[in-house]
Subunit: 433 residues, 4 copies
């Protein structure tokens, strides 16, 4: 299997985190899957991802004290492999795991993903749990000095045959459930160790090998960011997507900073290899955090976000509760012209970035498709322009006079030298040349 074939396009889907934090239930997942199948699937949205601590008893029950309750009960099988919390995922009882839920999602024509933490449960190490296919126990493969800074569940796994066996065993289990996508956390940037932020390197390789062995094309997504540019080749070799940012929330400074991050990673997007700008914090979020709110992004900021993610080639994961989305948000996510830019065949290229504006293009050398986007990064209305000579216009390509913005349908101003448009604060235009 070539892992680059697992995700020929940047994955598009929904993730439970921004709305549910650690509290998502089977019913919640189904409700969002139903909505996606009904309203979004035809536009390419297909992944349904259960995020962090689906295995933790009472997750979220002491939210004012802890996001992740330390030293609490994590459901495991006899081989130190985590299992869904049966209270929240009733269909998982009696050893079924996530198979029934995955089946449901698949029945809708969708794909099923789960979140995992790097490593093996600390509880398994302290209780000397078994490791499938080996004669060692969890304490032999757990590294007591390899922990996550922000989550207390796991110890890192040592680089050894028995360690590989553990990763093989969990991936085999997940593959058996029908998992199509794994988001592994505390691995892209192991920031507990500022002096060794890529300390999970061998675990990335072990995961990739385990997936290769399991026979199921499971997309591998790495978190959290920021990914380390000096390891770009390694992410590309072993993973399908990797977060280039820490958690993105609905604040303009974070979105603005994403332009810098995309600049950094612009040469690293290719089929099966996607720098990941993180979930889209739109619609309604926060219930599991104890504070439900509607996205603080303006409409222009939301368009800017979608445009940047698409022209750059980032995966698209909706972070909010799907059934609570309003009409406008649904339209935002189903703009076929904008989504048409989202292909690794379209090589992204930043033409310009300064304090006030950014300009990007994406070009498909095979079929000649050529997209561009103008961004107003300033806090005031502003005409943003690009010199045609700065676009990588090939000899045979003539710039049309009639260029319309994908969002508004309005014509951009085109003269001999430049293409320009007046844009609202934090707004953008996207178009095809």
């Amino acid at each position: 299997m070539n892992k680059n074939d697992f995700a020929p396009l940047p994955p598009m889907g929904w993730n439970s985190y921004d709305y549910y934090d650690t509290t998502v239930t089977e019913a919640d997942v189904k409700r969002n899957a139903d909505y996606m199948a009904d309203k979004l699937l035809e536009y390419g949205w297909e992944y349904v991802v259960v995020d962090i601590e689906w295995y933790a008893k009472g997750a979220g029950s002491r939210r004012s004290e802890y996001q992740y309750i330390p030293f609490s009960t994590l459901y495991m099988d006899e081989y130190s492999r985590l299992l869904p919390d049966p209270d929240r995922f009733p269909s998982s009882r009696d050893g079924a795991g996530f198979k029934p839920l995955a089946d449901y999602v698949h029945s809708k024509g969708l794909k099923f993903g789960i979140h995992i933490m790097r490593g093996i449960p600390r509880n398994a190490a302290h209780s000397h749990g078994a490791v499938l296919g080996t004669d060692v126990t969890a304490d032999d493969i757990a590294d007591p000095s390899s922990i996550c800074r922000w989550n207390p569940d796991m110890y890192g796994v040592r680089d050894s045959q028995a360690g590989q066996a553990y990763y093989d065993s969990i991936i085999e289990l997940y593959a058996g459930w029908g998992v199509d996508y794994i988001k592994c956390d505390d691995i892209c940037n192991t920031n507990a160790y500022p002096h060794a932020p890529y300390s999970g390197k061998h675990e990335i390789e072990m995961l990739a090998k385990a997936i290769d062995k399991c026979g199921r094309p499971i997309v591998l997504s790495l978190s959290p960011g920021p990914a380390l540019i000096e390891h770009s080749w390694h992410y590309k070799k072993y993973a399908n997507m990797w977060r280039i940012t820490d958690d993105l929330w609905d604040q303009w400074p974070l979105l603005l900073d994403m332009f810098r991050r995309c600049e950094l990673w612009q040469d690293h997007v290719s089929k099966g290899c996607y720098p990941d700008c993180d979930m889209l914090p739109i619609g309604v979020m926060g219930k599991g955090f104890g504070n439900e709110w509607r996205s603080n992004f303006t409409k222009d900021e939301q368009k800017t976000m979608l445009t940047l993610w698409c022209i750059f080639g980032s995966p698209l994961m909706i972070g909010s509760e799907l059934p609570l989305m309003d009409e406008w948000t649904v339209e935002l996510l189903t703009n076929r012209q904008i989504l048409s830019m989202l292909s690794p065949e379209n090589r992204p290229h930043q033409i310009l970035r300064n304090e006030e504006e950014a300009v990007w293009e994406a070009k498909n050398d095979a079929n000649g498709d050529h997209f561009a986007a103008l961004f107003n990064l300033s806090d005031e209305e502003r005409t943003v322009s690009v010199k045609i000579s700065d676009l990588t216009v090939s000899g045979s390509e003539t710039v049309k006079q009639n260029i319309a913005d994908f969002w508004t349908g309005e014509r951009l101003s085109v003269d001999q030298d430049t293409i320009s448009m007046k844009l609202p604060a934090h707004g953008c235009a996207a178009f095809k040349l």
Copy 2:
């Protein structure tokens, strides 16, 4: 109680680590205590310190794999407090703890010390053990993200009332045993967190408060080094001694580097407050490490070490097996003139340091005692001198013509301007003005 009265002189004693690693037994401790009482006590040597993992079952039994076996059994009482391994310390059975051994040591006119790791046992947190005097359990006070980089036994304790209660409870237990000296490890420099190397600051304060409450004058010694000079005032306020170096072993480059460290800390020695140059790696070491050896330091290097430690004012802890010391080593450790420099009344002062030589003095403003030492740091014989004008000679002080080296008894050369002596490579002279 004023903690500065607990150790009016820099503590002098023996520590089990350099010879036994984690494997020391009750019989070993007694044998060394007997020797100290017989041969060294009259010179000021009095502390007998049991170093790391006296509480760990099977400590040292998998030495080729681990120095500290991860996830192994640590003996604890019902309040999550560590107890001596009954196999190695038979007298500790039935709840006696270290009391019988401390009594034995005290009966010899000596003082008894133990090593602890910062925090509460990980096992206690995972098993939700009780905390004396509180209605919480260990998981409530253990910080799952606060670990030691090099030892897997403990979690750090949170800064809270219940956390203080835990420290109170262990110090109360140790005070009841008759402990006179506690060496707390992973606290002076919490180097698992290079970005936050003083993350145990609140635990230092909690320990100091617990000692103040317990009513017994227990000397508090902090490890490992290097201590952080920017926290010098904090060490002084709460502890009696703090390591200014990582582990010192019998290699000249490490000893040479101590001159730099003493330079840094020269203004921070006072009664009850001792920057600590670490144990003296002399005599025979290494049995517990699986590799018994005699100190690699030359005799001149050993003299240089003793001279620097004494004129600077460091605690003196012998790291080797006392009964295996040869005659020459015993003489080294019982030179009354050299040891007479070891007083916080004698304020140390580095006069000079360069690649080839160092010169120190120490002066007692109260009684007028004035010591100096010349060090040859080069690899060849060399005459080292000090200008009399560089010594802080007071108006009334006249430099004698007859100055003898404490080690050899030989006279130094004194002329109008300088005092000098020809010294072997890595050698020294020490004298009284």
Copy 3:
């Protein structure tokens, strides 16, 4: 000469910078000296210091572009030594230098100080100027890679005999003028080189040697801060005062941060050795910066500043135009009780510091004087207290019931355990036990 005798008390005086920037003239200096002699001298204020670029033609004339005009004319003698700008300091013409102005200042019973930059003028190096007492030229002693990050005037001087000769030559010149105080800049922390912030170490030593040779007791003050705590012993050995902060201006966050800095340096104040909290930004400042303003500090903040500087033992330098001070400010600076705390005999000691409050004491072991101060660091009125047991009260010392605040004369509340007072936001009380 013992440099610690040059300044037996922390220097108190006036500095031209905060009001004049680079533009101060002879008349300005005299006007401030007159004022000081009339109104402040009797309280201990005595130093009159001419700050940066007294040697630069047209200094301040292109202020909107540059604070320090690059590549401009610097007046020099035939030995590459800087001379006062004759336009601004007319009495300096014909080789007189600052002698006439120094004489004037001395005639008032005051002391005269100047600012210099580390190194030798870049112009001298490029024009191969002579160096007095040597047969080399400036290009031989200037280090082309040693520059100041923020001022373009000088190159650092190499560590060599000829380099020492240059420093000897300038100090000899200044001593001949009657200079009593030299503030050398770009030397305490050479922050052009974050990886080598003490790159001027050898130049500090050369300056100290030159002063020792010159026969005049010239106080040596090092800037800018923050001084490096790991070199504390070196500052003490060679200088009289060193800035522990970058420039202090009249903003509460900067003053608040000084509590942290004083905590760090509390053990390093002794006769002739003064960590320096920088000038007092009170009264009227800014004319030379093109923007005259009255201090933004509240009255309570100003009292807090004076109290901290005095109980800690910092030099006191007024940064504003003296004749423009109002009555209240003059009273602030002439409170004899507050100023009585300013003695290196009084050892400072921070008792407590947290987000809301700080408590300090200073004790003179010789005469028994014992001062304390309570600070309200919070933004609201607050009662601040100190436990009497936390004060280093000696056995013979009894805490009086009648303790009055030095600023208001009001009695503090004293009970068996604590001393307390209600303090306004950012306010303080100071008193004698």
Copy 4:
């Protein structure tokens, strides 16, 4: 002009530095050009580059003290533009500059390159020299705080219109001389400022714009390394080649480390965009350094170097005196098979790297060419192999049984799974699939 067309293949040539340091003369350049035209041109070697300080009077004359004499005479025209030293380059007199020498080189069918330092001469700033096409002087555009850590000649140029004018003026002059290649130093990594190692970013852009304006396709090469991976997109946008290493000399550890560097940069080689592994330290070097020597690399190491440079796609610059090369070295440099790998059409890809071995491939997707190389990085003979499944063998591609090493002509061992060869210490094999 599209700068990527200026160098469709990684540049191959000779550079004066490794043999001449700063002392190269016109005769030396011609002698090497003659040799290149005779012996090497037909293999692709064509650039003749005059390295550092061709403008400095007396360069190299005080070599025991300085590599670059500070504050010395730099030849300039009336517009602050550096000119060749007429003593070393007689044909440059009377305003001819390098034109006669460039003409000579061109007459041989070769290309002519020069080295420059980032910025404007310090002397010009201090003497307020004119800037062509502006009414400002050098002091207005020179940044006094922007210097090179290791060379005293220049100040950086400010980011301004007048600064651009200066760069335009020098490039116009060089273009007029017929310069084909500019190696700009102190710009790829401005390591005087570890906190701001890309402080010359705007000067790279100014240089690129000046070249674009000048109308001559001048290859832009940036030094020194290591280039900063986070700015890879910027190097690609503005330059043709950039050093990914500090100076490479003939020491195995440096060559070994290049494997790590090539790993890092493997995805950044494309037409007109070349990460640069630095000059080849082979043959005879060092005359200008006062110490002529023959390369310390073994023959195997030299082959390994050539192989890595070629399969990776680095420019090739010979660092030694060409006429002094022996037969073996000439053969090394004229192996047509090895050189055939040197094309940006061949995308490089590291398959494996560990302590003992490395394996690379390079594949041309257009024409199907597929190269691979095996490297023995260990210090002992060793069989190195690659799994065929790890090669990016396309469906249509069949691995031949008859694969011969480009260096020895010997057949590699090919079985169903692997290709392997026994290699000497530090040796390699290269072949076509």
